[in-house]
């Protein structure tokens, strides 16, 4: 994967949008720590930011075509990308509306339910696609060499989607079980788990390079 891939138009907006929103969330958290923003406003803003993340990533996901590199039936891949993109974008809109207008004690659990439902629908779409896509080693041909750009884009989107879904699922757990005493410990373990699973995903995605 090269840096050139990062600046190609379909990928640029979701990647930099995601990083920008992460930066905003970090800034809001720091501002809360310094006393510039109260706790309730911080929770509302973080909820809005996560909704915007889902909206941005969901909107651009079908454009980046992350499933193209898997091969198999292109029609099924296009349909799956569209359904995942739409599901995520609608979930993002629902989150933004909830955190913009609903009372905070209702917005958090409702957005968790929306989030968990979204993750289940997306998982079901991916499982359906995986069942219909044959997994086979692809010989190195001219077509494979020409699709290296697609492979780089697909890999970048895989990292982005993994990071986003980890944040999304962590937020769903925190919003739903906010008042439970074990929530802080769970989120700490989830943050640590992110590092391990990210490294494992990196190894899997680069498997062919590692074994040469």
């Amino acid at each position: 994967m090269n840096m050139q891939t990062l600046f190609i138009r379909p990928v640029k907006v979701p990647v930099f949008g995601f990083l920008g929103l992460c930066g905003m969330a970090a800034a809001v958290t720091v501002a809360e720590g310094m006393g510039f923003v109260d706790v309730a406003a911080t929770k509302r803003i973080i909820g809005l930011i996560i909704g915007l993340m889902a909206l941005v990533i969901g909107n651009f996901l079908p454009k980046t075509r992350p499933l193209k590199v898997l091969g198999g039936n292109p029609a099924k891949a296009i349909a799956t990308e569209r359904s995942i993109g739409w599901t995520l974008a609608l979930a993002g809109i629902a989150d933004v509306v909830l955190f913009a207008f609903a009372p905070l004690n209702q917005a958090r659990p409702l957005s968790s339910i929306v989030g968990i439902g979204t993750i289940l629908v997306i998982a079901a779409s991916c499982i359906l696609l995986a069942r219909r896509t044959p997994v086979s080693g692809q010989p190195i041909t001219e077509e494979v060499v020409r699709s290296e750009h697609d492979a780089s884009t697909g890999k970048l989107m895989a990292y982005l989607l993994f990071s986003f879904f980890w944040i999304f699922s962590t937020a769903c757990v925190v919003f739903l079980f906010d008042h439970q005493p074990w929530v802080n410990n769970l989120t700490t373990w989830m943050m640590m788990g992110f590092g391990f699973l990210y490294a494992a995903m990196n190894a899997v995605l680069n498997y062919k390079t590692c074994t040469r």
Binding site: P10, N59, P62, R65, P74, I78, R82, G85, W86
Partner: protein, 103 residues
């Protein structure tokens, strides 16, 4: 650029066809009764708008869809209301003819 790309019914139909699967320029052109240069112009507009990508496969060029959710929604709106506009444009000369006949 997006609105220009979606304003033509032929280009909208091309996008609908590409939703099913990637297709070569020849396969797409077979669905329409327009000349090859005209179809090439349509493909160029769709490419410039970033709604499709093209790749050379031997002697043919294969087009693949590249639309965001927002562009997909705009296509849906354009299909619905653009079609109505086409009907109104066709109905207007008929209405004028009827009025001229009645008077």
């Amino acid at each position: 650029m997006i609105f220009k790309a979606l304003s033509d019914p032929i280009r909208r139909r091309v996008l609908e066809l590409l939703r099913e699967r990637p297709m070569s320029a020849g396969e797409l052109a077979d669905h329409f009764s327009v000349s090859k240069p005209a179809m090439s112009a349509h493909f160029a507009i769709l490419r410039e708008a970033g709604l499709v990508t093209s790749k050379k496969h031997g002697k043919s060029v294969v087009y693949d869809l590249q639309m965001s959710v927002l562009e997909d929604a705009l296509l849906g709106f354009a299909q619905r209301f653009g079609w109505d506009l086409q009907e109104r444009k066709q109905a207007k000369p008929n209405r004028l003819k009827r009025e001229a006949f009645n008077s």
